[in-house]
Symmetry: C2
Subunit: 647 residues, 2 copies
């Protein structure tokens, strides 16, 4: 029997009942490259809408693609507006105190937090495709920016340089985000697995809460470090600085805020209780501090805040400074983090309300708003989880709610700034703690423990990394563990011994299906992963061990039919590389030395192609290649039966 | 129909003809962990020999396991000894000039190269399991050690400290190698894919050859850099230092060596021609330089070499120096590189001569010999490819040939050292160039180009990295590209649309098999990779696109039966994580909104287990889970037919 290797099908012998294993249709290198690039960068085929359309329609679709406001704008009506105004004002009442608080977390002047709640939401309303994302500064990105920039420049000693670095980092964050979207490299954020993010976020929440002890206890000299050990020791070393009135006020408002949060969580319809609480608390605390200012010694207040709109900050971007590297690094890290949060929040609420969100377009929108933001005195912003949830519950219908929020912030910036003069800093600390406490998702951690121990370990590692070492280390641990998990899976794939389900052509794991029966003279092994350099050594050892165990079993059972054929089920082998091909040839050679025949069942398209190109296909010959395990077993059995009868 | 989730089998309905999809047998977390650890670290089940043996037999086996010489020693006879003496002397004639040359490459005194060819081969003869590995210094590890240590300490300005660092790095290399073996973490070296190694080695060969221009042209002031651009420019800037007699001598011997190499490659039986050439050349050149020393101006000679055995160097190991970090880093990098070369060479010749080599045991042997070596004035050693090939061709039968070589080196060290006084350095340069030129494997690069373009790109990247940037950068590029390839494959898996081969239960890619027919009302998609965080977003987009394209096709063909069922063939989905489970649930929900039903076919054991633990299995119900695509199609079709008949 000759094997026709140059035709597009090979193997299977001359028997007409046996199906031949086909090579995929021939394509040139360019065609293959084109298809591969298409699969990598355009899995959703974003241009399919443009097919078979007239030119004006194409132009309109293109405009709608770039600026989604043109898509939903024409259908906008008064009823939608009413919902959006209500939700916009609600999130504004949250955004103003949170903006001031988060800016302090990033060690920036409080006013920057308000500026960042004004321009970016308006840009997002034009470009974004999520209807519920409430845009503004967020805790994690603020914390990371603060901790990364402080390593280079002190915010207290050189505030101007620090501010410039913050804007520069914001610019690069935006540039990076927009580039990811434009180049369709969104999969970069896929590498932060959900498990590690749960751990990282919880760790960051703990770190942020610990930082608030400074404000909550009224401490003046506080460590600049962020890890749990130095912070706790710093808190206890400065016991004489603890301020009684501050602590009392802090604990009181913290309790109020936490109980309103609890009420809203129990009953989502009462979302407005926790939404209104921060602003109400700020007003109440400010009034108290104003009226009893003489009695409240030691209660620090925000002090003077400038009035007026965002000043331009284009000239503050540093592109030729010695600190550029740090700014770029901070930009990329905060960019990835804020993108992860923004996309996750966007897709969560989109799937709740059942409308599509395009990840790559979102990245461009978030990137654009940060680039514009960096030129208008804003720092890194994204969609905040807590405020978006309030937005959703308050009935937001479109991105107009962001515009309403921006308008409310505008009014505040223009007229209400002096009112914040007497706001005690302790109330900001209480607001931050209440906000970040919701980020500790212990239920998700519990689920991880139940479903996947390795995922839980990843989660725990990044939590410990953030809390005990540092935020950047925690983040690297998170990414490292995620990668390690992927690589571990690739280097240590499964190889399962299959048996036949009686009366069918189905072959299943003998370990899992009690009724699956081993076939005499055959060992059927399914390899459950691509075969390449990282696992070829391992797979060889696994396969050889399976053969040894099978032979031991045959000996123990005193079966008459010895092992003759080793069928490797290649269904799950989605790819092979040069090392993998070598492995197959080596195993084949070793088995030949022991009078065993290696048979491949159902090799995939690319695998066949590579076996063919490397000229290894000939080695397997006509009886070494079958379209399914069932056909391999049937055909080989009938052949050897015929052979015996002839003898 | 109720789904029995708590039994070990679920799905498949009540129909007795339909097979149920089983959960794997219940195991505790500890059992699972034990099995997983076993699969990760002991794929070859190294203790299987010890099963069912008596205690004395067990002890003997254990001793043989640790010190393989006890395994083959008792069968050793005179005939084997004769072969080993011949091959041992042959590789000694190579090892002596190469040892001196490679030590210079590592910027170490030439005598260290000879020391390193004496102690480590003897240790390996005791512990190693390869019969053909010729142990000693090698070019790549020498080059890397030289280039990494020079960044910290200059070998010319502070030779003692440099020497101490080299021994310390050797100690850590050995420690690292032995630990990898002991902890059975051999898969670390699997991450250097063969493709990137081809590129890295070729690049290193170019860099090494360029460095030899110094010796070949007799240049005195030479750049300390290694990259192609500064080296070439340095060569031309010091044109006035070029020494005529040196160049003549160099070119002459280079031509002799290259042609002997050519002869041996054409006819492997004449291996002794190229094996004897280096030593003969050294002797001839030394004689010439001794006799015509007055006439050969500018031809640099080695000069005084100390006589005597390896001095102990235990006290030269620096464990508390400020340079410790560099020593550890250099140790790990050279350790990995030399391990990769040693294991590759060992397995290559083992498979040629058909005997087993245990990777983990080899690591321990190589690690032990480097640790002992670092205490006896040796630097990093491993199995050299060129010398092992000569060893194999010269008929070596056991590791005794290494002992014979060590004895020859011993004689040289004790008595013959003064003879090397007049050896010209240019001959060493010629020997190195001849040795490394064989490392440029352009044929392998050509095969890579033909079989796998991405592998070729990886190969090219690491070549360019080494030649144009630096050796460590080239190495990082090599590792990075290898990892990237794995990750790219994981993040962008295939999803293939399947059709039925008429008259069978076989479902195959409609793109690849022309005869495969789409089944009316069904879309069958095979996912060809584990589903987890890194690809869940992508897979969702891919599946949704498949559905859209199928619907467009139905519309274009004006088929009457619309799409009703989406069957996901999970055969190749070997694992799933929490993000993957979420993806399945999300796709299910989205499809439900469009009146489509999602059906899973043949989910694997661990996948079933996780779906069950996360309580997602219930969602799929009795008609959403089948043991194979064939049963899913058959059962659902018959159900809906019955349903139509009832109506």
């Amino acid at each position: 029997m000759a094997v026709i290797i140059n035709s597009s099908c090979g193997g299977g012998g001359e028997d007409s009942e046996v199906h031949r294993v086909c090579l995929p249709p021939k394509r040139t290198t360019m065609e293959k490259l084109k298809q591969r690039v298409g699969e990598i960068f355009f899995p959703d085929d974003p241009l399919h809408k443009f097919k078979n359309q007239t030119l004006p329609k194409k132009l309109l679709l293109g405009l709608q693609f770039l600026v989604p406001v043109f898509e939903w704008g024409p259908q906008y009506n008064l009823k939608l507006l009413r919902s959006d105004v209500v939700s916009g004002l609600t999130i504004a009442s949250l955004a103003i105190p949170q903006g001031i608080s988060y800016a302090k977390l990033a060690k920036l002047p409080p006013i920057i937090g308000l500026y960042s709640s004004f321009v970016p939401p308006m840009i997002y309303a034009l470009l974004g495709s999520s209807r519920h994302l409430a845009v503004g500064p967020v805790s994690i990105a603020s914390l990371v920016m603060g901790s990364m920039l402080t390593q280079e420049v002190s915010a207290t000693e050189d505030p101007t340089l620090y501010l410039k670095l913050a804007f520069t980092a914001t610019f690069f964050a935006g540039l990076f985000q927009a580039s990811l979207g434009l180049l369709r490299l969104g999969f970069v954020i896929d590498f932060l697995s959900k498990a590690t993010l749960v751990g990282f976020t919880a760790g960051a929440a703990v770190v942020v809460s610990l930082q608030q002890l400074k404000g909550l206890l009224g401490i003046v000299t506080f460590t600049t470090k962020m890890e749990i050990v130095p912070v706790i020791s710093s808190v206890f070393h400065s016991r004489d600085e603890w301020s009684g009135p501050t602590i009392m006020m802090g604990v009181l408002f913290l309790m109020i805020l936490l109980s309103t949060r609890h009420i809203s969580m129990k009953n989502p319809k009462l979302f407005w209780v926790s939404a209104a609480a921060p602003l109400t608390s700020v007003i109440a605390a400010t009034l108290a501090s104003f009226m009893f200012s003489s009695k409240l010694h030691g209660v620090k207040i925000i002090g003077h805040l400038p009035k007026g709109l965002n000043p331009p900050s284009m000239d503050m971007l540093l592109f030729s400074s010695s600190h550029l590297a740090v700014a770029i690094k901070t930009g990329i890290v905060t960019g990835i983090l804020s993108l992860t949060e923004g996309i996750a929040v966007g897709t969560t609420f989109a799937s709740l309300a059942n409308y599509p969100v395009d990840g790559n377009k979102e990245m461009m929108a978030i990137g654009a708003m940060n680039m514009v933001g960096s030129c208008t005195s804003c720092y890194v912003t994204t969609g905040s989880f807590s405020r978006s949830a309030v937005n959703y519950n308050a009935g937001a219908k479109t991105a107009v709610s962001n515009t309403v929020m921006a308008a409310a912030v505008l009014v505040t910036l223009l007229f209400l700034m002096p009112l914040f003069h007497y706001t005690p800093e302790v109330i900001l600390a209480a607001i931050i703690i209440t906000a970040v406490i919701g980020l500790v998702d212990y239920r998700a951690a519990g689920r991880l423990w139940k479903v996947d121990k390795l995922d839980f370990a990843a989660c725990l590692c990044s939590f410990v990394g953030v809390v005990f070492v540092s935020v950047p280390v925690g983040l690297s641990v998170a990414v490292g563990v995620s990668m390690f998990k992927v690589l571990l899976h690739v280097t240590r794939p499964n190889a399962v011994v299959l048996g036949n389900l009686p009366g069918t052509q189905i072959y299943q794991s003998v370990q899992r299906y009690g009724e699956a029966e081993r076939v005499a003279s055959f060992l059927i092994v399914a390899v459950e992963s691509p075969i390449y350099f990282a696992n070829s050594t391992y797979l060889k050892e696994r396969i050889m061990r399976c053969i040894r165990e099978e032979e031991e079993l045959i000996e123990a059972n005193k079966e008459t039919a010895g092992l003759k054929y080793v069928v490797v089920d290649m269904t799950a082998v989605s790819a092979i590389d040069t090392s993998g091909i070598e492995l197959l040839c080596e195993v084949r050679k070793t088995l030949e030395g022991r009078s065993l025949q290696l048979v491949l069942a159902n090799p995939g398209g690319t695998v066949m192609e590579k076996l063919h190109l490397s000229k290894s296909l000939q080695l397997f010959g006509s009886n070494g290649l079958f379209i399914s395990v069932g056909e391999a077993v049937a055909h080989i059995s009938s052949l050897s039966k015929a052979h015996r009868e002839v003898i």
